[in-house]
Symmetry: C2
Amino acid sequence: MVKDAARTKARLLAAAIDEFAEYGMAGARVDRIAAAAKTNKQMIYSYFGNKDRLFDAAFSSYVGGSLNRVDFDASDLPAYAGRMFDHFERDPQTLRLSTWYWLERPDGPGLAAVAQLNRTRVQRLAEAQRAGLITDDLDPVALLVLIQSLTIAWASRTNPEFSGNRRLGRDRRRESVVTAVRRIVSRTADLQPA
Amino acid sequence: MVKDAARTKARLLAAAIDEFAEYGMAGARVDRIAAAAKTNKQMIYSYFGNKDRLFDAAFSSYVGGSLNRVDFDASDLPAYAGRMFDHFERDPQTLRLSTWYWLERPDGPGLAAVAQLNRTRVQRLAEAQRAGLITDDLDPVALLVLIQSLTIAWASRTNPEFSGNRRLGRDRRRESVVTAVRRIVSRTADLQPA
């Protein structure tokens, strides 16, 4: 029975991730989630309390897990940016979930796990700066925010009108992100032509 | 009477922009929009057809207008990025509207006016490259996408957890965007230390 409960809970989380990524918090329907998880609405209330808390659980398990899957390397940020690009191409749901969260809970507390991860990354960027590996023209917090925004540049289509333009292939999109990050993080001296 | 109709329509559009920026397409309520515009729901249907088409009208008038307010200068892209940063700080609704659009209509056609604007900008970037004003290491389409993503880096809080981190002041956030864009678009030779 305990095992059954764990399985039902896992199915509910998986179904919730799909539903929330597609429709957001307001648009998601608990009966669709229950049906996709082959259980009933009552189980959602008894395991998670309400739709909002189901979102929190789904968001935590998914975004937390997916962020940890990509290695952060402060001594090779262009390569890290390339891996993040791959991640968002492979798995558009992370960004959709985070974006719904931003729109629907602009003053939400965020995920403690992600906040902690970001703090660690900022520290590692500061260390890489002290070691002279990357530029110190930019504050480490700014570096992290700017790099993050470049890794999602092609995935977060806030300019959907680009579809009307000539499209670049996946390799050239990826290369553009790696190049941009290299130019931002490099010490000026390292950018000089050979 | 014609004047009254025009005024009612303008009030409805203004109320729709606020409502859609806050709640998105699915979450917006036409009765709230009608009440805020001091008219009734029937007017929305008779002027715009339905909620979806009201969104289109609001999105076009607002996003189209707001984009045109910021001068694009392919020969001074860091300054352009700074102006875009100011725009998004002053006016968070543009980005919220575009983001709802992306999430709620991932396959939507986009705005013809914005697509046209983007095509023109890509051409101007290509000209600036031919004139040797900016790097030609990056495709002009990629340049536009990457610059755009940097100008919204601080506004599109897809990393809400940053609020848990030390925050940078407005001037330093702005300066980080201008610096990043300068580093991305400069010809390598121009990045050499003095």
